[in-house]
């Protein structure tokens, strides 16, 4: 029988209870949030459980939300793919902005090794237990984490690209 999203949700609720929440269908991808301390357990479960069988880590990256409360300033996003049933899911984990850290999944998927290094390089997120967490695309001497929103690309004094001049703000969209 084909795997459907309610089965995934039921399995996760049964095993992890309230640590997995905010289930929703975003376009063609089933998404949910996971508490940071449970992420390795959830991904390991999704990979090994005979019903879910998410055998492939498609993507891993982070997002910076400086406007959020302190505990939800960074999000680490995992895209998993079950090739047997051809189902994709997205897992989002919010972590603290002061000490951004989360356990590594590189022992579950080898591909996570470089993806986590890239995420560390750009956002400064510490992947606990990673075998070689160092910069990958930027040079080692760099001290900032350039994809964070506090590092604008252009001069902050420039206003010619301000959204307000085009009559649009986040509120009126």
């Amino acid at each position: 029988m084909a795997l459907d999203t309610t089965q995934i949700q039921d399995k996760l609720t049964e095993t992890f209870g309230s640590a997995v929440f905010q289930y929703q269908q975003e376009k063609d991808i089933f998404s949910f949030e996971v508490n940071a301390d449970k992420i390795t357990a959830v991904i390991l479960f999704l990979k090994n459980d005979e019903t879910t069988r998410f055998n492939f880590l498609t993507d891993l990256c982070a997002i910076h939300y400086p406007e959020n409360e302190a505990d939800r300033q960074f999000a680490v996003v995992y895209h998993l793919h079950n090739w047997y049933e051809n189902i994709r899911i997205k897992i989002k984990v919010y972590i603290n902005g002061e000490t951004p850290e989360i356990k590594t999944v590189s022992s579950i998927f080898l591909s996570a090794n470089w993806m986590e290094r890239e995420t560390y390089d750009f956002y400064g997120i510490n992947f606990i237990g990673h075998p070689q967490l160092k910069r990958i695309l930027n040079m080692d001497e760099m001290v900032s984490f350039p994809m964070r929103k506090e590092f604008p690309m252009e001069d902050g004094g420039r206003t010619d690209k301000d959204d307000r001049f085009f009559g649009r703000t986040i509120d009126n969209c």
């Binding site: 895209h79 998927f109 986040i170």
Partner: protein
């Protein structure tokens, strides 16, 4: 000698010292790259060598890192296409189309069937050129220059078709939200017909030149093999994964742009070695040719080359110069004032190298809040050190070549 190349605290320097103490022989360090004709781009491999055998390797990337994701956060959507061009520049139309399809998914734009078929043709042409480059250069890396010269002229012919379609050759910036900028000219179709007529015989000869060649077989069979399990765990996709025996192809798994209308098989290998990677790419070229022929045969009548979405589709230039409405639309779209829903989208296409994914987060402003490129090269290049351990130096060259690592996509 080796101490001059690496600082004493480097783990290889330590290994060399210990090994020297053990039996008196000395290991050596070899920098393969960053700029070396056989590295196919700017990236470095520090190799720990015992004679000509590779004991360990440490890859360093990032030499041409151009911060595409950061730039994308500061640009309206139309201005992001040139960034996608420069990922895998051997098959840039696939990257372009993947990006437009991501936006179409975000905006809910339905593309007319004819435009979808035209896209399929372009994407398959791009896949063919990508494989032409990869396989012919693999030949060069094994010492056979003839095959490269022989098939490379057909890449030129494909670039001439691109030129007819969009005016550009390498970084095509081809397309619009909803379709193409203009309809294909009769000359483009004529050139396509000539290509379809002339190329298969050349490709057949190219295959014959290598696939049963004793030297080529000796250099590639059982060189750099990777098991299916390892390949999946390393995140391999595309021909490199299929060579290991896994028939995963995004075009089949989650068809986009009407791929479900065409019949084609997914070639797979068995051992995942360099020879299988070469053969899988060869076979894929035949499938691509078949898809193009089917698309031409099934092409719907008419001249619909884009969706009717004036809010997102840039008006034709001649209208912009003569019509006030078009000028206003053009301005609004270029300045990023098109309404964009708040959403999170992931869309993947089968690139020349494997699954090329776009993870797009929008917050309703005129630029993406976050855009992440899932670049197949970046994902699987980390397996390279493991694949060359225990191999000879000359094997490292052909393994790298067969992986088809493109520096532009690796670094983004």
């Amino acid at each position: 000698m080796s101490e001059l190349l690496l600082p004493p605290e480097h783990r290889y320097a330590k290994i060399i010292k210990e090994k020297l103490n053990e039996d008196g022989s000395e290991l050596s360090i070899l920098n393969l790259g960053p700029t070396h004709p056989a590295t196919h781009g700017i990236f470095q491999n520090i190799l720990l060598m015992d004679g000509e055998r590779i004991l360990d390797a440490e890859p360093t990337v990032g030499y041409i890192h151009r911060a595409f994701e950061k730039i994308a956060e500061n640009r309206p959507f139309y201005q992001i296409t040139p960034l996608t061009d420069r990922l895998n520049y051997c098959s840039s139309p696939i990257n372009n189309m993947g990006w437009w399809m991501t936006l179409e998914k975000l905006l809910g734009v339905e593309v007319p069937k004819r435009a979808q078929y035209l896209r399929v043709i372009v994407m398959e042409l791009a896949r063919i050129t990508d494989h032409i480059i990869c396989n012919s250069i693999l030949g060069v890396d094994t010492g056979a220059y003839t095959g490269f010269l022989y098939v490379f002229q057909f890449r030129e012919k494909v670039y001439e078709i691109y030129e007819e379609i969009c005016g550009a050759r390498l970084t095509t910036n081809m397309g619009r939200i909803g379709g193409f900028e203009r309809d294909w000219s009769p000359e483009a179709f004529r050139k396509l017909d000539v290509f379809l007529e002339e190329f298969p015989a050349a490709w057949k000869e190219f295959e014959n030149l290598f696939e049963r060649n004793r030297i080529f077989i000796d250099r590639t069979v059982n060189v750099g093999p990777i098991s299916a399990e390892k390949a999946v765990s390393y995140g391999f996709t595309g021909p490199n994964l299929r060579a290991a025996g896994v028939d995963y192809d995004v075009r089949v798994a989650q068809p986009y742009s009407s791929y479900e209308d065409f019949e084609f098989s997914v070639p797979v290998g068995q051992s995942g070695d360099t020879y299988d990677r070469f053969c899988v790419r060869n076979a894929e070229v035949w499938e691509s040719l078949s898809i193009i022929r089917q698309a031409l045969a099934k092409m719907p009548e008419g001249n619909e080359f884009h969706a009717d979405v004036p809010d997102y589709y840039l008006p034709p230039k001649e209208d912009v110069y003569t019509n006030m409405e078009s000028l206003i639309y053009h301005f609004k779209i270029v300045m990023g004032e098109i309404p964009v829903p708040v959403a999170e989208i992931y869309h993947a296409v089968e690139g020349g190298n494997g699954e090329l994914g776009f993870y797009l987060v929008t917050d309703g402003s005129r630029t993406p809040y976050r855009l992440h490129f899932r670049r197949p090269c970046f994902i699987y290049y980390q397996a390279y050190p493991e694949m060359i351990k225990g191999a000879m130096l000359s094997d490292a060259i052909v393994i790298l070549s067969s992986l088809n690592v493109i520096a532009g996509e690796l670094d983004a």
